[in-house]
Symmetry: none
Subunit: 540 residues, 2 copies
């Protein structure tokens, strides 16, 4: 049986950027676009060229993607030609293969917000789309407020779609802009639009989650005939967010009736990357991943109820509707039991440390991890620190050196040109065997720019490690994440550091303290120690 093609249109970089508190840099946009491309979406809407410097910068050096890169814009203003509309010109100047233009389809909005006649709006839609097509672009038309518009004036709403269709738009996207439409209404209206003569394989659906139904509305639209779904990773987006592609994609690929009926650009292998891609986005935004997220949440396959957990051990299908590994997730069963220990052994083995199944130290390591997670540590994102913790417990960690003390000073005052400037300085005292070494460093780079106390501390620590110096000289700190979290009843700072070396290895370490400099220092020490373990081939 041949399956119909269903297209996925991602707008994380455009509508997702409307999320309160979200502001991507051009570099972050590029990284997200590359992940979306690896996942296998069909369209990536990169932003609105000309609307802000970041979006313009992103399009000026957009990554090469298999997915169709799309620029967002709006239909031309009434009273000027498409050729002379500077907003539209900026969108076309981004030179993307596809362009998605939003336009009004609700008579009330045409009158209230645009202040023009219904006819003028139709002309604007048709002329704008035709202009993009004439420039050789694939054109999409986002029909703003389509469902409200259809309920108020169905003939006019459909005539807007037809104006875009006749001008050559590849897709007519039905947008539930204020998120107020419910699933059965979406299904009914999509069916009526198709009955009015617009084929489903030209229709897209764009939903918002204001009633918690963005996913269900998207599914209802597909069941009624739409063949393109718009959404965002992790459901980012204005107000309550857009339809969550991280939720929709596994449903479309794994669950009936969708699995048998449709083909998408996402492969089974791509699907197993879903959790990682979701977490990467949270990392970029420094957001705590939602534990309860469908499919990819840390709790999505956690079985707390005793009855459930014991049934799961007999047969996982009793309480799991899909296999967790199909989306890159894993089952979670309380640490105390057998499953917890076999998970731990697998994780140690992946770090090259083999431990017998009956080794009692496994239980002890699990206890320490639990205690430290209660204090605010997080080992999911810090495999290197986890490995050091286990090595310490297993007696496989030599003491390379000892930090006796350190002192960091941050000073802000006027320089000789009467400008306020900051300078940090760090002193570190280290004992290596019988030798004591004292190092000092400031926080300046070659250009005289200050990089703060952690930078100074890191440089002072790495300045004189005697026999280990050569080994750590090719290390650099490539990322640094800080989060305030709860350690018991106290607010503490958790720092996660990404380090890289000359061989391109990258590893993560964690530190926790009420003092941010201490937390950073702990993570730095772990980073160096892990590198020494690896390069000195400590026996395992």
């Amino acid at each position: 049986m041949t399956r119909e093609r269903l297209y996925l249109f991602d707008t994380t970089l455009r509508d997702g950027q409307q999320t309160q508190g979200v502001q991507f840099s051009a570099l972050e946009k590029r990284q997200i676009a590359e992940n979306l491309d690896a996942l296998g979406v069909d369209y990536i809407e990169g932003g609105w060229p000309g609307a802000n410097p970041t979006d313009s910068e992103f399009f000026a050096a957009a990554p090469k993607t298999r997915a169709t890169m799309t620029a967002f814009g709006m239909t031309k203003r009434v009273g000027r030609s498409a050729e002379n509309d500077d907003v539209l010109a900026a969108v076309l100047d981004a030179r993307t293969p596809a362009v998605c233009l939003v336009g009004k389809t609700h008579d009330f909005h045409v009158n209230t917000a645009l202040g023009c006649t219904l006819e003028e709006n139709l002309e604007s839609i048709g002329a704008s789309v035709a202009h993009c097509v004439a420039k050789g672009r694939e054109a999409l038309f986002d029909a703003e407020h389509f469902f409200d518009g259809y309920k108020a004036n169905p003939d006019y709403a459909v005539s807007c779609l037809k104006a875009a269709q006749e001008a050559g738009a590849r897709w007519l996207v039905l947008c539930d802009t204020n998120g107020g439409t419910l699933p059965s209404e979406v299904g009914r209206i999509v069916a009526e639009v198709i009955a009015a003569g617009i084929p489903g394989d030209r229709l897209g659906i764009h939903c918002h989650d204001d009633t918690g139904n963005a996913v269900a509305n998207s599914l209802a639209a597909v069941e009624a005939g739409c063949r393109q779904i718009q959404g965002t990773l992790n459901g980012l987006g204005e107000r309550c967010g857009n339809a969550n592609l991280t939720t929709l994609i596994p449903t479309l690929l794994l669950k009936e009736p969708f699995r048998s009926a449709f083909e998408t650009g996402v492969s089974e292998a791509g699907l197993t990357q879903l959790l990682k891609i979701s977490r990467t986005l949270d990392d970029i935004l420094n957001r705590v991943p939602l534990r309860s997220a469908p499919y990819v949440g840390a709790s999505a396959f956690a079985h707390k109820a005793g009855l459930h957990a014991s049934a799961i051990l007999k047969d996982p299908t009793t309480y799991e509707h899909i296999p967790p590994e199909s989306v890159g997730n894993a089952r979670v069963i309380p640490m105390s039991n057998q499953a917890g220990q076999s998970n731990l052994r697998a994780r140690l083995a992946s770090a090259g440390i083999e431990v017998e199944a009956k080794d009692r130290r496994l239980g002890r390591i699990l206890e320490i991890i639990k205690e430290r997670e209660d204090q605010g540590y997080a080992y999911d994102g810090a495999q290197a620190s986890f490995e050091l913790l286990a090595r310490r417990e297993l007696g496989l960690l030599p003491q390379f050196f000892e930090v006796k003390r350190y002192r960091v000073t941050v000073e802000r005052r006027k320089n000789k040109y009467n400008e306020m400037v900051s300078l940090s300085e760090a002193v570190v005292v280290v004992k290596i065997g019988e030798r004591k070494a004292m190092s000092v460093s400031d926080s300046m780079d070659e250009t005289g720019q200050d990089h703060g106390p952690v930078n100074a501390l890191s440089k002072a620590l790495a300045k004189d490690l005697g026999p280990y110096q050569a080994c750590i000289d090719d290390m650099k700190l490539v990322d640094f994440k800080v989060r305030i979290t709860n350690g018991g009843t106290e607010a503490v700072t958790r720092v996660i550091i990404d380090s890289e070396d000359g061989q391109g290895r990258r590893w993560q370490t964690v530190g926790v303290s009420a003092n941010i400099v201490d937390a950073s220092f702990e993570a730095l020490l772990d980073a160096i120690t892990w590198k020494l373990v690896r390069d000195r081939q400590v026996p395992e």
Copy 2:
């Protein structure tokens, strides 16, 4: 037109307690039950008496509620009579007016998990329900895995419902236990169950959010004929959570076709308490409220896009599907680099600053915001810093004081007990008018616990502000968020600080620098300055 009665069954205290990391005390359960009762739900499932000490303690002194207090349990074990089943006896001992018993309806589970015959299971259901009814209780039957069971063996699944019905159960609740069923399937199966002879006003629906459809599944069941909905506040529950009543209730009360068709126990006045009740639960659990939550989220009525914000000013119904105040929420017009001038004016007005539409300084303020956002600032989450920026540009910001310089030291070394300890110390020099003041502070709290350099700096700065001292004495720092972001091509640190004062006001400020201590200091300064502006009634 008379509306049909739709019943709301809350299981926050039972299924909600299965959320990973959630463990209510008996006192917290009582507080939540009182809030649920004030909201107007019909049933409150308090827990499983006998299953754990907390639930037994809660039922021993359950609050008097208008809602029907319900105890959860399971059908008796095969091979013993209902009268002699100690688990069932403990449930009845709680002396609640209603009892909800879960039982199997999926043939595979009867065989795999129970290990008995299909007939024995039917007997167990009937006898257990009959026993509760004989004891004078309203009986509910939770049909576990009903949808999977129905798909595998529809006759058997329905015969389980009939066994409970014939034994006198008031409600037969169709449970999608593993959360894997999709909305159109739920609608179809509910309709078939009704066609098989079980009236809809005896049917309840219990959904989980494993595909992000728990709300939609519940609505589909009601549209197909079910007249009881089970769910939890804030969507708590095992794995991805249960159907979210905080989302469902406003939809049922405010949105068609439900609004005209049904009556619930929740009044319009009760609905305005929804946000408060949702936040109280988060407070009890010490969770950060989900900003994007439908209806009650802090972002649910936040209009970031410039186009949306300007239309909202003309008519709120353009981008709001319900009035925010109906659920106790409020409209938010945040700043961001997508914002237009009308957005900016609305935001200034909400801070009490009126600016003419044609004032050219509006354009200048937008430019500064864009520049600063490119440097890494974020004003969405820092309204107070935004307001100060605008005031500075509009000439409405006096210079209260000037920080001439500061110095912070962080030291880590061994104390006299040979333990590694950290101590931070800060010196700040401030000029207030012609007077210069120098203050010093360390980072210790009363218990001798170190809180790091930002804490020391904050204390030193607030130690001697002369004429302003009284005004800032009731300020405290209540939250502190750090992220590493890109400012131009450099990695910089962005710090957002939440402050609160004695009047319960809470405000957010932002600082950005490559030096984390500097970034924090900048946000601290803004926090103090904003408080001075507010309390000293600066002319506007």
